[in-house]
């Protein structure tokens, strides 16, 4: 993974000093609340219900074991001994003290980490597929360009105060796992017929109040122009985005109101001035950064491992974990492993300091000392030998990290919601927990099979509810918490936005509503169909009928 050189170290420590002084001025009354707000947000510090929340950047989800141990240590010393992995592949601390933040940043800097631009109206952490570099369907490893873009976007002088937040995702696989269509800019890397690296650029996607999937603005961009093209897009947005109304300030609204043709024309006019200038990425720079993302020193292994095969055959619990929580790898004899942060009855994405230490140990022992955070809020060991999987499983299981539910109903995405977030309309974690308890039968879960359930506590959609096969959104009706349910959303190449099925439900109704949706699926499905396929084939009506009919009768 990327390692800091002198330049990076200097920049991050200058940032700590700058932020320390900003905090001092705020505490001394030299900055008003209103003035400090955009400043602390640019540093990932929210003021939440109970305490500030600090969001720490995990660039494109990559962590070293050293970094994870430091996060565990920070969570223990400055927080309540746990952290929350978010859908932006970042780590959130829910209880730090405002005055401790400069010290936390200094600790982070010592392990090449920071909280720069994890919030606020600026370019946010760039995200990608959690299996980047190891997925068999990967055409291009986009991490080098992503790192070049991370550096370009960090303290970008022109784009420090945009109309609204700006999210970029990159992907280099045939099956998109980075949800590029859901971002302000999505970049899909591919090789053209001449084997040259190209980028398909999407613009104007995003969830929130007005969910819109991105539109292609460039089919075939040369990689050298990645920065200049993004700069043209964001400059156009900076000048013309709607600053008068924060609900309409995202680039998606600008693209929609102008239409992609006119927007594209404006971008192209701007780009004509920037193209081939100093922003053009050189081969030397790409090579320099790519060197950090060379493949790991893999062993030459067989496709099969006898001890692994035996363990799978003789131990059903291990076999079901292998089925759900391990993933194919480019290299023979290796698997990627997902450590589930979704044990039943716990807040999705939460990890204790102790668990973080364990995961760091596992990474050191079995996966070259590195790991990743997925946007589904789990942790990934990307490079585990088949022969080691049983050991990994046993250790993970001991610490509640081996629930074999990856891709199943209880592997849900869930935002912090009303328990922590001051923007929430409703709590989301208790809903997740109640559903997990309702479906606490693994055989049943496996029978239901692949399904994605996403929960957000408000329209901001941090829980990506629009693209959940089942989406749950917290709404506020006369000061009471209700939940709106949608079905038919999907991420990936054939992404779609879910449709609301009808009037909202009270919290205690939610587990049975989900149960009823599942019942319809189990009754109607063909042998091959996943939940989403059935919804797409038969439409929402049978689901609505079942969910609401019995309610009305009752």
């Amino acid at each position: 993974m990327y390692k800091y050189d002198k330049i990076d170290h200097q920049l991050v420590s200058e940032r700590v000093a700058q932020y320390r002084d900003q905090t001092r001025r705020y505490q001394a009354g030299e900055l008003t609340e209103e003035e400090f707000r955009p400043i602390r947000l640019q540093n990932g510090l929210y003021i939440q219900r109970h305490a500030p929340m600090l969001r720490i950047a995990v660039p494109y989800g990559m962590l070293s074991s050293i970094q994870l141990r430091k996060l565990a240590d920070i969570a223990k010393r400055y927080d309540k001994g746990y952290g929350h992995f978010s859908t932006r592949q970042n780590l959130q601390l829910n209880w730090p003290k405002l005055e401790d933040v400069p010290d936390i940043l200094e600790e982070l800097a010592s392990v090449e980490m920071h909280a720069i631009q994890t919030s606020g109206n600026c370019i946010r952490n760039i995200t990608t597929d959690q299996f980047v570099g190891v997925a068999p369907d990967e055409v291009v490893d986009p991490r080098a360009i992503a790192e070049i873009m991370r550096q370009w976007s960090t303290f970008h002088p022109e784009f420090a105060l945009l109309p609204r937040k700006f999210k970029i995702a990159v992907s280099g696989t045939t099956n998109d796992r980075a949800v590029v269509q859901m971002h302000d800019i999505g970049m899909e890397f591919f090789k053209n017929k001449k084997d040259e690296l190209r980028i398909k650029v999407w613009v104007g996607g995003g969830l929130g109040r007005t969910p819109i999937l991105g539109t292609v603005i460039h089919e075939n961009l040369k990689w050298q122009h990645a920065l200049s093209y993004c700069e043209a897009i964001i400059r156009t947005y900076n000048m013309h985005g709607r600053r008068d109304n924060s609900y309409k300030a995202r680039i998606k609204i600008l693209v929609k109101s102008l239409g992609i043709e006119i927007f594209k024309q404006q971008v192209e006019e701007e780009w004509a001035h920037l193209k081939d200038g100093p922003l053009t990425i050189t081969q030397e720079e790409l090579d320099r950064v790519s060197a950090y993302f060379e493949p790991m020193p893999y062993e030459k292994l067989e496709v099969h491992d006898a001890s692994f095969d035996t363990a799978v055959a003789s131990n059903p619990a291990f076999a079901s974990w292998v089925k759900r929580c391990t993933h194919p790898h480019k290299k023979d004899g290796y698997r990627a492993v997902t450590l589930s942060l979704k044990p039943h009855g716990k807040a999705p994405g939460d990890a204790t300091s102790e668990q973080m230490d364990i995961v760091a140990d596992l990474a050191d022992a079995y996966s070259f000392g590195e790991l990743r955070v997925s946007h589904e809020q789990n942790l990934i060991l990307a490079d585990v030998e088949l022969a080691d999987l049983f050991d990994v499983w046993e250790k993970a299981r001991e610490h509640g990290l081996a629930t074999p539910n990856i891709g199943l109903l209880t592997d849900m995405i869930c935002c912090p919601g009303g328990d922590f977030c001051s923007l929430a309309n409703a709590k989301s974690i208790p809903i997740a927990e109640a559903i997990q308890m309702q479906f606490d039968n693994l055989d049943y879960l496996h029978d239901i099979g692949d399904i994605e359930l996403n929960i957000s506590g408000c329209m901001n959609a941090c829980g990506h509810h629009h693209v959940g096969h089942i989406g749950i959104l917290g709404v506020d009706k006369d000061e009471e918490e209700f939940y709106q349910v949608s079905i038919g959303g999907k991420q990936g190449n054939d992404a779609s936005l879910g449709k609301v099925i009808g009037r909202a439900f009270a919290a205690d109704e939610m587990p049975s509503v989900v149960e009823k949706l599942i019942e319809v699926y189990l009754k109607e499905r063909t042998a091959e169909e996943r939940f989403i396929d059935t919804v797409r084939r038969i439409g929402a009506d049978p689901f609505k009928a079942h969910v609401y009919a019995e309610k009305e009768a009752a």
Binding site: F155, P157, E158, N238, H240, D244, H273
Partner: protein, 202 residues
């Protein structure tokens, strides 16, 4: 005491920034219950009444809002020729209007870009365009809701003078012009770090 930073120091301000009167009869614009804080690109800045009511000091160097200059330029031609007039551009005013108003932008000794709110980052793009696209070479001044926390960005967007808002310590703010030693990306006056230094040795 002057609040103007120029060339790493507080300097006396020879320019008077002319501000049109506010008559208090303008409706407050609201959207979703909130007061609208930002004007949109291309929106009018002042009413005709405000422009008509603007008083321009009879002598000395003045910074005039673009719409005021456009309305009164005939009577100000000699002062313009004497180098006594600079222009204030607001962040929602199309830069093309400014460019179209002068045959040579460099006949202006000063262009000031005004932001109403800190959070309005359009001034960065405007500064960049004035320097890189329209080749403006004279003083480019940031005015309005300006605090030390924007200075590093403003400098890299082509500004070379900064009027710190009233009540804030301008002397201390100077330090923020150098918050970072080696920024990653290029700015108006420099190229991306990988073109600036040999990072393979860093």
């Amino acid at each position: 005491m002057s609040q103007l930073i120029k060339g790493n120091a507080i300097v006396a301000d020879e320019w008077t920034r002319v501000i049109p009167p506010i008559y208090g009869d303008e409706p407050v614009r609201k959207q979703a219950g909130k007061v609208v804080m930002f004007k949109l690109h291309g929106e009018d800045t002042f009413t005709q009444k405000q422009i008509d009511g603007t008083e321009i000091p009879a002598t000395g160097k003045v910074l005039l809002p673009l719409p005021v200059w456009l309305a009164k330029k005939e009577s100000l031609a000699s002062r313009m020729a004497a180098g006594e007039i600079g222009i204030v551009l607001q962040t929602h005013e199309p830069i093309e209007n400014l460019v179209a108003a002068f045959r040579d932008l460099n006949s202006l000794p000063v262009i000031a870009v005004y932001v109403e709110k800190f959070a309005d980052g359009r001034n960065f793009t405007l500064g960049n365009l004035l320097r890189t696209r329209y080749d403006f070479k004279n003083e480019l001044r940031a005015v309005g809701d300006i605090m030390r926390d924007q200075l590093f960005f403003l400098k890299r967007s082509g500004f070379d003078s900064y009027e710190i808002k009233a009540g804030r310590n301008a002397e201390e703010a100077i330090a923020s012009l150098n918050d970072f030693t080696q920024p990653y990306q290029g700015g108006v006056n420099d190229v991306p770090v990988w073109r600036r230094i040999d990072r393979s040795q860093a």
